[in-house]
Symmetry: C2
Subunit: 424 residues, 2 copies
């Protein structure tokens, strides 16, 4: 019966079986010290007067006696009695998971993805993302949201745009979805009222930046019977507080490895909200130049401003002008009921109230010079009775990037896709 | 402040606001009875000496006094004081959500999907699927599994096969994944050891059957350090017991609407396990003919046999011959450590131990006449130390189909995709 390394302290003096990966090997005269790694931790195994021929990363089962040793990692080590090799690794791996990842550059980390994922610090990114996913779902389920699964194969999308990947669908050209926008609105109008989906979305963006992926996981929610976008910001604020709390509870060691802190509840409580116009005026003052749009340098400056003034590196921007938002965004005169959340210098979420009145939507379609025929299915939602509603989406990888201060969002995708990278 | 219909019993005598869809309207002299539907239930609203011009499915907010009425649905009704119309539905909808769905055929239900989803019985399918998703995740998280999100865009897949949808990926031909098999094995070998993913997969199947979709949600899991396939069947058995329990607790009304029962804990405990050879011999006796493979009629017959003998319409079939399973399936001589679960006459899950030894895998690649060069990335997992492991996948829609006795699996997809159906 296998024992996890994290549970060895309960086995002092017993003979146990541990299973895992050979993390390190060191010889000292007739003694070999082998560090074994499993999903729960690492432990030193001592071989006395024995020869072993194991390469790093081989997978083994080791039986031995658990002994207290103050000097050993975790306070315990194992005196080996029997070793069984499940799988022998090749001798000279091109990437060594036990090494400090700072010795590798991003391209090397991603080229050797199957090995770099074994690095404990890198693995921590994905453990943290799993907790973001589960906290997002749990919070929304507790607020009576229903999880939905919608098609990722669509005709020319609600968002329009040229950044679509084309699929040969039994000889017909279809596209990979850029967002579940149409479907989450349809499911709200279906009577579920509150829905969420955590699923891949696609952007055929040609440019390379540190914040873009061709395929990413979108954490989407949408809810009926809202008054305005502030209700959505309130809920998102509460949701992210819950996510932070879960990460702190479950991934203290990951945060320590990456040397990052999360906002305290008190800091998070003071996230300011600026209108788009206020944000631009503030940027004019800070950057000393006229600002036509909030660009990456502006996002950075606004978060720095919030950090100084409110002790929190985050800002909600709302009341964007119509031209800056998609056609389905609820508007009053020239402004929309929409918002972005900037966190640590970068937008991590976008949301807003949507138009639920068919005539207002038709006006918007004209305003944006869109073709109503291509939006026939979408429009039919609003002919059949649709509640006022809205929602938001959070990019999973970009959120993890900002939490862990990762230089490039690709580090936060297990198997990132960009213009050039298509494997593994 | 809006009150949900399910909470009206706590509001007897109070003036409340309810919001929802106009489900039915009936006039009786100077009185109008309007049945309002929200996500939590339906309630009768009484209009006295008032005119209202609302079509069915319009979305409204209604203020009124809650009154006990034994004869009303749910024991309470509302005496209207004020009505606000959020969204007026068109007069003659092509599909009426309040009607018995047996009055519509499948094509009509799917053609009018945005309306048919509003039918309470149909909506129940998707509420139930949300609970399958959350129970699957919760059970596995409780067993220390980590949720993963992997790429759906791949080169020619591990499964091979011609049933792939091609994507134009920046001018290169790539494909939509048929399963996360490669990635879940990679993530197990990365040291996470236990992983799961709930995500879409794609099969470009040309034939139309009641059990196939071109896009479906695969509930996938994979775990390290297993002994054999029986450990996986044990875990799946326990997992599904948990799923059934959650459905019973949360969706009693859905089960009643569809007039179905779930297996009791006692019935479920007795799911038999047959080897493939035993199952074929049994079918020979039952069907009175030589059986070369377990076809749909065989799956039906085996479940009927189990129902008679063990009072449960389910069977695990294991020890499939090599030729019947993918190349990566762990084998001993001519048999594999793999299994299927049949439930109510249809396969709903397939799984097994995978090969973790590189030399055995290379032997298998030769046996199946596959090209090792096309499997380079996959093979590299096994050069770097890989634990013994295995897993299974459950098709979400097909599982819901079998639970609710749906004639066609497309009924269990919110927005199904097949050869012809590409919208909504």
């Amino acid at each position: 019966m296998r024992v996890l390394i994290c549970d060895l302290s309960q086995q002092d003096g017993n003979e146990v079986e541990v299973c895992g990966w050979v993390h390190k090997i060191r010889k000292l005269g007739a003694i070999i010290f082998l560090v074994l790694r499993d999903r729960s931790g690492i432990v030193q195994v001592v071989y006395r007067n024995k020869q072993i021929s194991l390469h790093l990363e081989s997978v083994v089962s080791i039986k031995g006696i658990v002994k207290k040793n103050q000097k050993a990692l975790g306070g315990y080590e194992i005196e080996e009695t029997h070793t069984f090799v499940f799988s022998l690794a090749q001798a000279d791996l091109p990437f060594l998971p036990e090494k400090d990842i700072n010795t590798y550059n991003l391209e090397s980390i991603l080229d050797h993805r199957l090995l770099s994922l074994r690095n404990i610090k890198i693995r921590g990114i994905f453990e943290l993302e799993a907790t973001i996913l589960s906290a997002f779902s749990t919070f929304l389920r507790n607020h009576k949201f229903t999880e939905i699964k919608t098609s990722k194969i669509i005709g020319r999308g609600t968002e329009g745009g040229t950044e679509l990947f084309e699929i040969d669908y039994f000889g017909k050209p279809l596209y990979l979805t850029q967002s579940p926008q149409f479907y989450k609105q349809a499911m709200v109008a279906s009577g579920l009222e509150r829905v969420y989906e955590c699923a891949p979305v696609y952007r055929a963006e040609k440019h390379e930046t540190r914040r873009h992926l061709s395929e990413y996981v979108s954490l989407d929610m949408e809810m009926a019977f809202i008054k305005d976008e502030h209700e959505l910001m309130d809920l998102q604020h509460e949701l992210l507080e819950y996510v932070f709390q879960e990460i702190k509870q479950q991934h203290d060691s990951v945060l320590k490895m990456w040397n990052v802190l999360l906002p305290s509840a008190k800091q998070w409580a003071s996230v300011p909200r600026l209108t788009y116009a206020e944000a631009k005026e503030l940027l004019r003052q800070i950057l000393g130049k006229t600002v036509f749009d909030i660009q990456p340098d502006g996002e950075r400056a606004l978060c720095d401003w919030a950090a100084q003034k409110y002790d929190i590196e985050a800002v909600f921007i709302y009341a964007f002008p119509r031209k800056k938002r998609p056609f389905y965004t609820y508007f009053e005169e020239t402004l929309t009921r929409s918002f972005d959340l900037l966190f640590r210098g970068q937008e991590i979420s976008t949301g807003g109230q949507r138009i639920h009145e068919r005539d207002r939507l038709e006006e918007s379609i004209v305003y944006f010079h869109l073709d109503p025929a291509s939006l026939k299915d979408y429009l039919s939602i609003f002919s059949a009775g649709c509640p006022p509603h809205g929602g938001f989406a959070i990019g999973l990888e970009r959120f993890a990037q900002q939490i862990l201060h990762l230089e490039n969002v690709k580090e936060a995708a297990a198997f990132p896709r960009d213009r050039k990278r298509i494997s593994p």
